[in-house]
Amino acid sequence: MTSAFPFHNQLCFIVFPYVAVLTFLLGTILRYRKDPFTYSSLSSQFLENRKHFWGLVPFHYGIVAVLVGHIVAFLLPRQILEWDSQPLRLYILEISALIFGLLTVVGLVGAIARRLTVSKVRVVTNGFDWFVLSLLLVQTISGVYVAIFHPWGSAWFAAAISPYLWSLARFNPDLGYVSMMPLGVQLHILMAFVIIFVTPFTRLVHVLVAPNPYLWRRRQVVRWYRSQKEAS
């Protein structure tokens, strides 16, 4: 099945992804159960406002759009390919993806510069934060690099990467296309799994607790100690 591919490819694109996802699941769940207090966005807006705006807003808008794009391409490859069948639509998709990618990089660089220069913010930055920031920087830059130098990513992602990811999800790993991908793309894939791997140990967990009950819950929250039956 997979033995036709070199060992390091198997290690990077089969073994490691499973290790990363397993660590991610176990780590985040255990951390949530054992130490829920540590789940926080750890925002530093309170300490510095202006640079925060110029860094964090483009970064988050960018990364959310890019992530959603990746997930959609993973889940609905056929629809994406259909959309791409007309050149104009393909261009629109590619260009907006690139714009969001650039937005992410610019915002991230701004955020890093802010952490370096504002002394109050430096106080709440630890080694793990720097580690996460550099991972993200490498990942977003490699993403933009791929978008520019290996164009029509929306098409080949749907045609090649999506099947690879699905093969992993089905526990029937198939390295077919991935092993032939250019180095930049391979790096981007590998780094994605590195980030997934480290998530439980970093502030990235805040992504998992992004507000969701809010949109559906009633405005006021009341907690009772005595049983609810008694209380009308």
Partner: protein, 496 residues
């Protein structure tokens, strides 16, 4: 009717001497940790003044509280849809500069300084960065009208005052001010709770105390912007929001909150009020001028058999109902109507009420002393040196009648007591004043007693909170024998 009970409060501003003992009691108990140094869950402001954080009452800047938009009650700072976009950067969020950068002094330098010709000094260092700083602001920076041209003159409550009235507040040698102690109001319609994207903020069903679940707070900071009183604080170290907890661990063991307990002027009262929770939203949506009355109408008469029956049906413990019947707060707010909610126009339905200050009683006319004019016994109230309009902006959504009513009644009580004890005022005059102020002699006597002669137990009627039963219901008490108390069993650790 959906009866709930609420631990409510009254601060009698005439008695506050501005000593800040309350703030210190609170700070020592709860906010001397890293990340909380700048927080003052209890603070005492000088009015007129811009307060803490600076200009917190300016909702054009902070967008706190609720507004009625298209007939619907909505948060000013954010809607649910906006939250999605503002969560990365909250545009209405105050920053540390709006409070102050906490500092200490480099005391070690006094001991370690090398020998030299000058005396070593202890220079201020930031408690955030540890670096030397220039102190530019602090809590109570404008205490007792310090820096009036910058602070007092920018008080948002001066809105609607004539230039004459403004000038009168700061006239040389006849300055006038009063103190305004503030804690979280543990509102009935809390904006902080409604704004929390994680549902971490909640109101305790049994006693109405508003708390942040530290384990669910994710540091989205929406509450900091939403609370119009700026009584939600962001702990920059742990990345969690914190607020006044009304010393619930003390209340649960029958003790008054630390700021209440330590209050030197004995201005603070605490007791249970029963209210109708089913009408909160409806009442909070009424026009500004109706809000004071609307909030009063939410408060139910604990002696009304119908209310008692409904309270029992809602599961309110007999002892709590009994406690509500003895509540000093109920008397001040609902029976005597001399305690008023602060800034009711923010529509959070605050459950901390203020008796507006009479002092200084001096008039603003002529030589500053009050001349008794027999045909209008209350003339000095409209001419008082703290313009009525100013008090009305604070305690009546800009409508003077509520404040006037409270002040007239207080004055009548004073004159009545003066007729009784000193005798230099005729009883007939005093009685006429009582009549005109809508007060019976019995009521005057009761107001006098609860204002001037109140003991600890008169001021604090703390309901039994029955937490022991609650805990028994949920967990095995033997198993949790050593786990009682407050907080975590491990120190709260900043996340990564």
């Amino acid at each position: 009717m959906n009866v709930r009970s609420q631990v409510s409060m009254v601060f009698h501003l005439d008695k506050c001497i501005g000593c800040h003992t309350c703030s210190i009691a609170c700070k020592n108990l709860w906010t001397d940790r890293r990340g909380t140094e700048y927080m003052w869950w209890n603070n005492v402001e000088t009015k007129p003044g811009t307060g803490f954080p600076t200009k917190w009452e300016d909702q054009e800047k902070y967008h706190g509280g609720w507004e009625v938009k298209n007939g619907k009650l909505q948060l000013k700072s954010t809607s649910k849809a906006q939250t999605i976009f503002n969560i990365y950067h909250n545009p209405s969020m105050p920053t540390m500069d709006d409070y102050y950068e906490p500092w200490t002094y480099d005391y070690q330098h006094l001991f370690n300084a090398p020998e030299g010709t000058d005396q070593p000094t202890a220079r201020p260092i930031s408690m955030v960065t540890g670096e030397l700083i220039q102190i530019e602001a602090g809590p109570n920076w404008d205490d007792d009208l310090g820096g009036s041209p910058v602070y007092a003159e920018n008080d948002p409550n001066l809105k609607g005052l004539t230039p004459d009235q403004r000038a009168q507040l700061v006239a040389v040698e006849r300055l006038v001010f009063f103190y305004f102690p503030r804690i979280c109001n543990h509102c009935l319609n809390p904006a902080c709770v409604a704004s929390c994207p994680s549902g971490a903020l909640y109101k305790r069903g049994e006693d109405g105390i508003v708390l942040v679940d530290q384990k669910r707070c994710r540091g989205w900071r929406m509450c900091v912007a939403a609370c119009p009183y700026k009584k939600m604080f962001y702990n920059w170290n742990t990345g969690k929001s914190e607020k006044c907890i009304l010393c619930y661990p003390r209340l649960e063991t029958g003790q008054a909150p630390a700021c209440f307990h330590s209050c030197v002027g004995r201005i603070r009262y605490l007791g249970v009020m029963l209210y109708d929770a089913s009408k909160i939203e409806e009442m909070a949506s009424l026009p500004d001028e109706d809000l004071v009355e609307a909030q009063r109408s939410l408060v139910l008469d604990p002696n009304d058999p119908e209310v008692v029956a409904a309270a029992r049906k809602s599961g309110i413990h007999e002892s709590v109902i009994e406690s509500a019947q003895r509540s000093p707060v109920y008397q001040f707010v609902k029976v005597w109507k001399i305690a008023l909610p602060p800034h009711i126009e923010y529509r959070t339905m605050p459950m901390l009420f203020y008796v507006p200050p009479m002092s200084p009683v001096m008039s603003n006319v002529a030589d500053g002393t009050i001349h008794h004019v027999s045909d209008n016994l209350f003339h000095d109230i409209d001419e008082s040196r703290v313009p009525l309009k100013f008090l009305a902006n604070l305690f009546g959504a800009g409508h003077e009648e509520f404040v006037r009513y409270a002040l007239r009644k207080q004055k009548a009580v004073r004159w009545y007591r003066r007729a009784v004890t000193v005798g230099d005022v005729e009883m007939a005059t005093a009685e006429r004043m009582l009549r005109e102020a809508d007060c019976s002699p019995e009521q005057a006597e009761a107001i006098y007693r609860l204002t001037s002669l109140c003991t600890f137990d008169d001021r604090f009627v703390i309901p039994p909170m029955h937490r022991e039963e609650a805990i028994q219901m949920m967990e095995d008490p033997l198993e949790h024998k050593q786990g009682v108390g407050f907080g975590f069993l491990s120190g709260p650790r900043r996340g990564m």
